[in-house]
Amino acid sequence: MWAGDSEGKVLYVQTHGITDPGRCATPFFLAASAAAMECEVMIYFTMYGPTLLRKDVIDKIGPKGEQGQPLRYFIEQATGLGVRLLVCQPSLDLNDLRLDELIDGVDMIGGAAFNDLALTADAVISF
């Protein structure tokens, strides 16, 4: 799944969801930084993570509530630099979500694909 044409491959894992907004943005801006360093970057959303990709949520929450940028800003900063977003079906089920309730551009993978990405990444960083 890695294109393999970059010097470094970094896989971030986000397990936290909308109930903990202070943890929602950091994986996106670290991923954006890695992409700006010409790394190939993916973020895998599991456990409660997929809730952060809900279309009806990304304008309503942000890491600092009303004071700062909404979650959409951090997501678009990352995806605009080429960061890819991944979910798996069991974690959609856990949160009673369907793929069409998430923002566009999210890819579905499974456990084997995740483990393969992790085994072939240069770094896996989990939140």
Partner: protein, 82 residues
């Protein structure tokens, strides 16, 4: 303000007041927009800019020509190498 040492910049990118990761992201975009061999001067007040730009330059293979600090503002000179 004193003149910054080193070669004259072909382009200046003002990131003063912006926090991590914006100086890195905007620098990456600005360096792609200049020609190979040209120099970008980044102005930034984020206190992490020095280690960040050393890491970014090393990782991307561009030349970090120097970092100076004048008051609160870091001046970072980067030559696009590839």
């Amino acid at each position: 303000m004193a003149e910054s040492p080193g070669p004259a910049a072909d382009q200046v990118l003002d990131c003063t007041g912006l926090q991590c990761p914006l100086p890195v992201i905007k620098t990456a975009q600005a360096v792609k927009a200049i020609e190979v061999g040209q120099v970008l001067e980044l102005l930034a007040t984020d206190p992490g800019v020095e280690p960040d730009m050393r890491a970014w330059s090393g990782r991307t293979g561009n030349d970090l020509l120097g970092i100076t600090r004048q008051g609160e503002v870091f001046h970072v000179l980067i030559r696009r190498a590839r």
